[in-house]
């Protein structure tokens, strides 16, 4: 088992490719008129939802409270994040071929750091959307902000907002786990 560390590291690296197949995060808005919820999906390179029109419908809802439109084209992260992911995949493959424990460790720590940075960036966007409201919003409630939770559930006016990782996110978690395992297996190989 322990000699498979190269393979495990390879899986950790390739697992990140799932970010191009599945959304990494999901924000669900639930209200009586939306019994099944309105699902917004955040991908590594785009923002979408259950249907092609979900984002338009979320923007229509948000405009009543003066939130600015979520326009994926104006979010630079969606442009360059894919390159970072691809670089991490390439780096992971190279390190897997080299088969060094330190390589595995550094890659995994780098991935954790990138995740932390990504989440912080996500938080900043949420803060911006939730706090920077138009002065002419039709519905203004003094002191009310509309920042959805980074992780968890919270009522925002009539909507219950739920924010949790989605399939792509779980793959990133798995990559961190596999990177760590590769490191541990390599270290204990001759023990």
């Amino acid at each position: 088992m322990k000699k498979y560390h190269k393979l495990i590291m390879l899986m950790a690296a390739l697992g990140l490719m799932a970010l191009f197949i599945f959304p990494m995060w999901r924000i669900t808005l639930i209200a009586p008129q939306y019994p099944n919820g309105v699902n917004m999906h955040i991908w590594i390179n785009k923002i979408g939802g259950d249907t092609p029109s979900t984002l338009q419908n979320i923007n229509i809802l948000n405009h009543y409270i003066g939130m600015k439109y979520i326009e994926p084209e104006t979010i630079p992260e969606l442009q360059y994040f894919p390159y970072i992911v691809l670089s991490m995949v390439a780096l992971g493959i190279v390190l897997a071929l080299r088969g060094k424990a330190t390589g595995y460790l550094l890659w995994t720590l780098l991935l954790v750091a990138l995740c932390a940075a990504g989440l912080y960036d996500f938080y900043l966007w949420e803060y911006d959307y939730g706090h920077n409201l138009s002065d002419t919003a039709p519905i203004k409630i003094p002191g009310m902000v509309y920042q959805p939770p980074l992780f968890g559930e919270q009522y925002l006016l009539n909507f219950l907002a739920k924010s949790y990782p989605h399939i792509g996110g779980y793959f990133v978690g798995a990559s961190i786990l596999f990177g760590s395992l590769a490191f541990v297996f390599k270290r204990t190989e001759h023990a």
């Binding site: 249907t51 092609p52 029109s53 338009q56 419908n57 229509i60 009543y64 039709p138 519905i139």
Partner: protein
Amino acid sequence: MNQRFEFKHIHTMLLSLIALLLLPACGKLSNAVEENQGGALADNAASQVYVGPGEYDEFYAFMSGGFSGQIGVHGLPSGRLLKIIPVFSVDGEKGYGFNEETKPMLNTSQGFVPWDDAHHPELSQTDGETDGRWIFINGNNTPRIARIDLSTFETAEIIEIPNSGGNHSSPFATENTEYVVAGTRFGVPYPQQDVAISSYEENFKGTLSFISVGEEGEMDVAFQVLLPAFDYDLAHSGKGKSHGWTFFTTYNTEQKTTMLEVAASQNDKDFIAAINWKKAEEYIAQGKFREMPARYAHNVYDEHTHMATSTMKDKVRVLIPSECPGLVYFLPTPKSPHGVDVDPTGEYIVGNGKLSANLTVHSFTKMIDAIERGSFEKEIAGIPVLKFEEVVGGVVEDAGLGPLHTEFDGQGNAYTSFFITSEVVKWKVGSWEVLDKASTFYSIGHLMIPGGDSKKPEGKYLVALNKITKDRYLPTGPELCHSAQLYDISGDKMKLLLDFPTMGEPHYAQGISAAKVLPRVKKFYPIEENKHPYRTLGEKDSRVERSGKDVHIYMTSIRSHFAPDNIEGVKVGDKVYIHLTNLEQDWDVPHGLAVMGANNAELLVMGGQTETLLWEPKEEGVYPFYCTDFCSALHQEMQGYIRVSPRNSDIKLSWRLGEDEEAI
């Protein structure tokens, strides 16, 4: 001594136990009697029709709207009204026939006809089973057939039937919806012309039309069969072994034109006309038809342009029975038969002789036998008349008075409505014995079992479509809505469950498992598929253009504003076309549009759709317009103004939304 006492004691206890057991059974019995007498709400009837909040009904029921010209969609078993589909009559609620897009749907050879009498809905079938693609319905007064698409529940197509008067025996699909049919109720001069009414037998004819239905549902008058001018009342197509044949009932074989209630009730037997349409196809292929001039409209609504186009057609193919042996046979049937209904196996053809006490059932096998033996009673206009005794398969004796229509439950039972005795009679196909009777309130016309005229009936419920309502609901003055009644037919005895009101006069109805329809139902129209010539695909493209006296407003709606919402430069005498595109891409977010003083209805535009309101302002002023369908928290703010200036004014055309103003 002791023992004997004990035995006696036990004996007494047993007796009282038996008595206790019998008591509830007796109670049940008296309930059942009460139910049959109409004291409906017995034991669990309420729970059987209860569909909880947020729950779906098990079946769709499509009820013809009769003289409303529309179709009412109800859920079963709750009876709840789900939608009224505008078909043959203008409908201000939806702008149908008022907006520019749907006006062509009501075009005919007589011009725009804003009303009709819709009688018999008929679901499309595949292999003799309802398939949930379309529902057809006939327009009786100005002969037409409409096709409604069950992905949108909107009228998709209307074809006029030439050389017809009173399109009553219609539409009744064949087993794979190869055709829907249209038999004329009135004999009419052929071709239509100015002749004496008394020259009826000489100049009048009756046509039976077969309208082909294509893969996408597109209809075409494939051919007509030219018959004597009897009145053709109802029809049904064969199935299984009788696939390839369609049967039409006739009355007024006396061929009278006045005081028909007496004059047309003299013949002991009228006919069921059996048409071999597969044979007709052979004759058409051999070119044995006559191409006759005709004028009839064909109107098609395009789901992508969101508009209808009307095309006039000018000829029709006609088959003449004397030139086409084997095409038509007459089956003598007592007496002025109304419905003609084919059982699920295709063997039995029920003639519901409405002035007869008995129900005549013909056998398809016997009919084919007699035809092969050439055993005919006589010929009428080259059409062989078969011998009654040689085709009759059975008779249901003394079942009631005034049989109108029969449907089947798929368990070998038939259910016939009796108008005069106001009841449904259940009888056994093959043994012809009466099994059960249930009163209706009042005077049942047609009845409906979901799939009850198909090969695979879903025989759980039966709906009685009653002609007379009287005291069944809170009175609403002299005019009352008609009434339907729902029966549970899953047991041996029919059980009345529910009364519910229906729109207009429901003649016939069709029912289908919701599960067959639901996967096809659309929630909105994808905006990227909108091909309307006056569409506006985003607010940035909203604008106003003038060409002569025509002003075209390219307007959009989205919660909660129109773009543009302030317009100036319109003049008295202009024709203002407001082309409203609803940019919404969500389920159930229509926006409406109404303009003060417009001699028109509102628009009601679904997500992704474009509709056009024509408004011809007559006086100068500033005219408000607003959204009519409560769309959002700020729906009441969804409004705007159009300024109308005198004809000679030099106010320039301008429009705006918010602060962005533009002018030409």
